[in-house]
């Protein structure tokens, strides 16, 4: 018997029992659709997270360095800054400092303050941060940086300009605002060249950054919500020249720097050089330093993705196993039900092989039709899921699709084999007697 003929026969047999064939397929359809949709959702999530990390500025090293033996003009930061400017792979370096106090920012009638309240709970001191201002969602995120602060933190200028090198050098009373701060203080008015007061000290607004949080979406995963929160926090920026630390922080040097490296491949090299340089100038008895390597973090992220893929794979494997057992069950019932037919076929000359092929093809056909339907459902589900959660339609990977289809056909053959062998082993006399 030829394969083409066997295919026709199987199709005929399935089409005469459409209802049951469909119910048998249902397991496969759901299994395959779930695999495709889940894997695509996970890919979308990873993509969104990656995009998010990149939006924070890729290839940026965080450097902490502090030494008690330095002070005033001759701090470790200045030396680090000068050293970085000499490195070919470094495109920018900025101090990244905060204020020790929580000043009030005012513009006209509007004010912004961030306050730390100390609440005593059951004898233990708990620090909770509360915000005062007109709105709970508005509070300032005051940072100290230089003309490369925007570059290193991946801020884009929306209006005006960055701080200039000279403004930083000269402790100019200027500032650049994050989008949220600018919107809160100025509403629809143009903030450029307006003057805000910080603890009564006037600062002229020279620029406003674009919003970072607009359009950011990381899906439903609660674990990723902090990322969104941290991005929103960045839009509350009030950037002052780093030299202002002398005024606000009592001349305490800034101990954190951001170093932006040209390419990912150069990151490890720069980390090594910085570590070498800092170990030369920071005496670890009277100070400390640390250089973070973003490559290590992204490797960690990749590892998490791989683990997630394995986890999804296990779930998919279990659901497909269940579907496969369902198919085997139905095929076994079919064999019993069709014992007489098998007897007739054998009596008129069907070989064992023909019977095996017939039942295997039927099982494989159920699974491949189910697989195709599952792929269709999976594509739709994936498109809807990624559109809803990430705001963009991510199409399932072709490799995953082919793999899913291959798995469903393999399932049909694997779980169809036992019933097929059982059917073929029937003695024609015995089979004909059945009814």
């Amino acid at each position: 018997m030829k394969i083409g003929q066997a295919l026709k026969m199987a199709l005929k047999s399935l089409s005469t029992k459409k209802g049951r064939s469909f119910l048998t397929m249902l397991g496969i359809i759901i299994g395959i659709a779930a695999v495709i949709a889940l894997v695509t959702y996970a890919q979308g999530q990873n993509l969104a997270m990656k995009a998010l990390y990149d939006s924070q500025g890729s290839n940026v090293l965080e450097v902490y360095a502090y030494s008690y033996s330095f002070n005033g003009e001759d701090d470790v930061g200045q030396r680090l800054y000068d050293y970085c400017l000499g490195l070919e792979d470094v495109v920018g370096v900025t101090p990244s400092g905060y204020l020790n106090s929580e000043p009030t920012i005012t513009y006209g009638a509007k004010s912004l303050t961030r306050q730390r309240n100390y609440i005593s709970m059951a004898g233990a001191a708990v620090i909770s941060e509360s915000v005062s201002g007109n709105d709970d969602d508005h509070y300032p995120n005051i940072q100290l940086g230089n003309d490369k602060f925007g570059l290193c933190n991946n801020y884009q200028i929306a209006k005006g300009r960055e701080l200039s090198y000279l403004e930083v050098e000269n402790m100019a009373q200027v500032c650049v605002l994050g989008s949220d701060t600018a919107e809160y203080l100025f509403s629809l008015a143009d903030p450029i060249d307006k003057t805000i007061n910080i603890n009564g000290m006037p600062f002229r607004v020279v620029g406003v950054y674009q919003s970072k949080s607009a359009g950011v979406n990381v899906g439903t995963d609660e674990e990723n919500q902090w990322v969104v929160d941290s991005i929103k926090y960045q839009d509350k920026l009030v950037l002052l020249p780093s030299t202002m630390t002398r005024y606000f922080n009592g001349n305490q040097p800034i101990d954190q720097y951001l170093v932006k490296v040209k390419t990912k491949s150069a990151v490890n090299d720069v980390v090594t050089k910085l570590n070498g340089y800092l170990s030369g100038i920071v005496n670890t008895n009277s100070g400390w330093f640390n250089v973070s390597n973003p490559n290590e973090y992204s490797a960690e992220l990749d590892k998490e993705d791989a683990m997630q893929a394995v986890f999804l794979g296990i779930i998919a494997a279990i659901s497909l196993l269940v579907a496969g057992i369902g198919i085997m069950n139905i095929m076994l019932v079919t064999v019993t039900e069709r014992t007489r037919e098998i007897g007739i076929r054998k009596a008129i000359g069907a070989e064992r092989r023909s019977i095996i092929v017939q039942f295997l093809i039927e099982a494989a056909m159920i699974c491949s039709i189910g697989g195709l339907l599952g792929i269709a459902v999976g594509y739709v589900a994936a498109a809807v899921l990624t559109k809803v959660f990430f705001g963009l339609v991510i199409m399932p990977d072709v490799g995953i699709t082919i793999l899913a289809f291959g798995i469903s056909v393999a399932l049909g053959i694997l779980f169809g084999l036992y019933p097929a062998l059982k059917a073929s082993a029937l003695q024609p006399v015995e089979a004909l007697r059945a009814d």
């Binding site: 018997m1 030829k2 003929q5 026969m9 005929k12 047999s13 005469t16 007489r340 037919e341 007897g343 007739i344 076929r345 054998k346 009596a347 008129i348 000359g349 069907a350 070989e351 064992r352 092989r353 023909s354 003695q427 024609p428 006399v429 004909l432």
Partner: protein
Amino acid sequence: MLIDIRDVYKIYNEGMESEVRALDGVDLQVQRGEFVSIIGQSGSGKSTLMNILGCLDIPTYGDYTLDGTNVTELSDRQLARIRNREIGFIFQGYNLIPELDAQENVELPLIYQGIGPEKRHRQAQEALERVNMYDRRHHRPSEMSGGQQQRVAIARAIATHPAIIMADEPTGALDSRTGRHVLEILHSLHQDGSTVILITHDNSIAATAARIVRLSDGKVVADGAREEVMA
């Protein structure tokens, strides 16, 4: 000699208390072109004998030579080939496949022979014409009367041009007029040169054959011309 079985036994549960000897030392020789009736009461072993003659079953003991081949030594696959090419079965219950129409049922043994669709359709339609069922070739078994179904079954049996046609109570489920018509077809096949073995419990049907073999308790108790056996 087309069929030659010698000292054939079919024993169920051998050696146990429930032992049944369905065939108990049967000898039977059939020449090419004969029309033989095998007659016996229910339980006489005639169906068991037909199953063995038709290679649906193998004897517990004894030899079966079909057209010079010792069938008892053949593999499953070779037996399937013999059933497919050398034997045409007609059963009491027709045994058509309900999901297939008349022509598809008739084509089934040709499919297992690996014959291509064009030649297959032609051979099947010829066979259906032979039993006067060509017009109903696209009807399913459920859309046909018993007599029509049996004619389709005959068409299926003759479509491969087998050496032997085996009919097991072919008229058993039919009224007498339709039964006679089926018998006429068998006789006309015989006249065209087929070897026909007809199994029945009905003396009047058996008597349409020139040669009659009577079975009782798994043994051949009479074998000869109609006049001798029926006397």
